[in-house]
């Protein structure tokens, strides 16, 4: 079997070569067991060539001066992943029933389910964390000038992701179906209706009719847990692809090397 190139792990983590006399070069069952993980990875990689893509994604050159501000994007992504995971488990208990079942199911999760209050709290507070991180990430991109050529498309994708995050916040706010949720949604839908010409129709679309009705809650729930998360996940994929493809920018305070000789040597 042809040998694949070794994964790029630090020398300290690599297994030492066998000492002379150990098993006379023959693989013992212990050696096979130790190699099992590598063998599985090799087996998959030989059939998918995923390691090349993983290397392309992970082992990138980053500019000098890269600092903690550059972690805001992945922080936002982890906030989204946290929302996705806690949301899936909350969905196992939630009933989008406007005649009392929705409020009751949230009360049940909060007061009676093991760790329910904790997981619901993570989802509730995590949504604010995600919005804050989105804006910090956007501010970083703006003030570092990282939206400029050739990264304009990534800025646009980011703006769509910002809007989708806002849609998530708006639709998720209704789901507990308490007084605050209900009136905030009434006010929010009516603000949306003040857009001229199309606004009134968009309000009807959101409510599923001219009044807050039986289908409004389930519409919001479907948008919140199926439509928008899928879009966000797909767009995060595109966003990350472009980051890996185009590379990151140096911070604006980093000056280009004036001396052409040194500049060539650094490049």
């Amino acid at each position: 079997m042809p040998k694949l190139p070794a994964p790029p792990v630090p020398a300290a983590l690599k297994a030492p070569p066998p000492r002379p006399g150990d098993g006379n070069g023959k693989a013992t069952p212990l050696d096979h067991a130790a190699e099992a993980g590598i063998s599985v990875v090799d087996w998959v990689d030989e059939r998918t060539s995923l390691s090349g893509a993983a290397r392309w994604m992970m082992f990138r050159k980053v500019p000098k001066g890269t600092n903690w501000f550059y972690t805001l994007g992945s922080a936002t992504m982890f906030a989204f992943l946290s929302q996705a995971v806690t949301g899936v488990f909350l969905a196992m208990f939630y009933k989008p029933d406007p005649s009392g079942g929705a409020y009751e199911s949230i009360r049940h999760v909060t007061n009676e389910v093991f760790l329910g209050q904790f997981v619901r709290g993570m989802h509730k507070w995590g949504s604010s964390v995600m919005v804050i991180l989105v804006f910090l990430h956007m501010g970083r991109t703006f003030f570092f000038g990282a939206y400029k050529y050739p990264r304009e498309l990534n800025w646009l994708i980011g703006v769509v992701l910002l809007i989708l995050t806002m849609v998530m916040s708006f639709t998720g706010y209704l789901l507990p179906f308490d007084q605050r949720a209900y009136w905030a949604t009434i006010v929010g839908v009516n603000i949306n209706g003040t857009g001229p010409l199309l606004g009134p129709y968009l309000s009807d679309f959101l409510r599923g009719g001219p009044e807050f009705g039986a289908v409004t809650l389930s519409r919001f729930y479907a948008i919140h847990m199926m439509l928008v998360p899928g879009l966000i996940a797909a767009l995060i994929g595109a966003h990350l692809y472009l980051v890996a493809k185009l590379g990151t920018t140096a911070p604006p305070w980093l000056k280009a090397e004036k001396n052409p000789e040194l500049r060539k040597a650094k490049a």
Partner: protein, 220 residues
Amino acid sequence: MSDKHRKHASRYTSDRKIPGAFEGETVTRRRFMTGTTHAAGAIAAASFALPALGFAIGPIFKETPHKWETAGPTDMFPDNNYIPVVITLTPGIGEAGKTTVYVRKRNPSIDLEKPDSLNQYIAITSRCAHLGCPVRWVDAAERFICPCHGGVYDLLGRRVGGPPVRPLDRFYTRVVDGFVQIGARYSVNSELQRFSPRDPGEPIDGIGQYLYPSRPSIRR
């Protein structure tokens, strides 16, 4: 244009020396096959995408039926003060489908709009014309006051303060067997003329009635 395209100068496949070309043939079999496959894919995608889209936006075009709700006997309502009545706007969803309506008898000395069979009793919504919060009739001040953003309306529901863009909506009323019944909602402009119901926040004076058109889902 690249050389690849330029070298096929002739429309006819026979001129282009394509093996098996018929005389007068302009579409190669390969191109025909490609087009058919694309068309089949488009039809397959449209066959689920179009119904799903229509399903999602259908409620915009569907008129919501309304029914008459009994508010109370005619002698329950004075002509100088409002009595709150709870009616069901949307059946089947419990408390969330109910709303408060303020009802009084028509008073010819203050209600100057033309009397007809549908406004012998004045029914004013509790839904603020700013963004839809619930207004409350404050008897001592003779004002409707909204708790959210400070909208204030007078006895006739006309805005006297705060951010609302038009007077409070009203409901048609009728009297059946000595009982006042409340019907469909309608909006009024600042002259209290009737318009198809608009959502809160949408002015209907002047150009507003065209910027915020009446919707097929709810008509006067």
